[in-house]
């Protein structure tokens, strides 16, 4: 039998790159609620990446005469699983580490009064927000929606 050059096992590298993309695309996809609340696009990328890695590994170990990648495949496969593990840690654990906020105002309770500066540094009170007229209708609002957010930094 003639000695043939073993072929490049591109599935391994493509699979690894897809897993990296699954992780790295999160900051971008997290800007849209449809891909943030459930990060399905990221998991799709991880799924495709791991499937390619599996094909590559089967070739490397099943047909070692034709394909390279036993060592590279093992390393890339392990790294991909680590990247997926880190991603799962962030989206299933880290972002859920929130204070209990058991003392937050409940439905039926009156929201505590406050005075805070607006973007022009003018002090604004909650009672003024509740009573001062809206610019569009020139009537006082039916209600106030307080949105506390983490900050733009």
């Amino acid at each position: 039998m003639a000695i043939t050059e073993r072929r490049w096992n591109w599935h391994l590298w493509a699979g690894f790159l897809l897993c990296l993309a699954g992780f790295a695309s999160f900051p971008l996809l997290a800007r849209f609620p449809v891909t943030r609340d459930v990060p399905w696009v990221n998991f799709l990328l991880f799924g495709a990446g791991l499937a390619l890695l599996l094909v590559g590994l089967r070739r490397a170990f099943g047909q070692p005469a034709q394909y390279r990648g036993k060592i590279a495949g093992s390393i890339l496969g392990t790294l991909s699983l680590l990247v997926l593990g880190a991603f799962c840690f962030i989206v299933f654990y880290q972002t859920r580490q929130l204070p209990a906020s058991s003392g937050a105002p409940r439905i039926g309770q009156t929201a505590p009064e406050f005075v805070l500066p607006d973007t022009d540094n003018h002090p604004v009170s909650l009672s003024a927000l509740l009573s001062s007229p809206l610019s569009q209708t020139r009537t006082s609002p039916k209600g106030v929606l307080l949105v506390f957010y983490r900050g733009y930094w």
């Binding site: 307080l146 506390f148 930094w153």
Partner: protein, 93 residues
């Protein structure tokens, strides 16, 4: 219904955000997290550089200041959607 956004960001930072994003509603600054604490919404050390910041939370108050609807998320990636808040506001007297 009047939307009001509150965070620890300085007025200048919020002004910058409003200008860039085109927000026209009220943004209030609570740099020392005094009101955030009063509302028990402090997330200690969770800021980019370990600052104390607010955890995400939304409250809909009626004209007398009583809470009619509230959303305290369990995962800070998942916040109330605009449609949810508009739907809640429709039920205001």
């Amino acid at each position: 219904m009047r939307p009001v956004a509150i965070s620890v960001d300085a007025p200048e930072v919020s002004r910058d955000l409003c200008r860039k994003a085109g927000y026209t509603y009220t943004f209030l600054s609570d740099p020392k997290a005094e009101v955030i604490r009063r509302y028990d919404l402090l997330h200690a050390g969770a800021g980019m550089n370990g600052q104390d910041i607010a955890r995400p939370a939304e409250f809909l108050l009626d004209a007398s200041g009583v809470v009619r609807w509230a959303n305290l998320t369990e995962d800070y990636r998942v916040r109330a959607r605009p449609e949810q808040m508009i739907e809640a506001a429709k039920a205001l007297p």
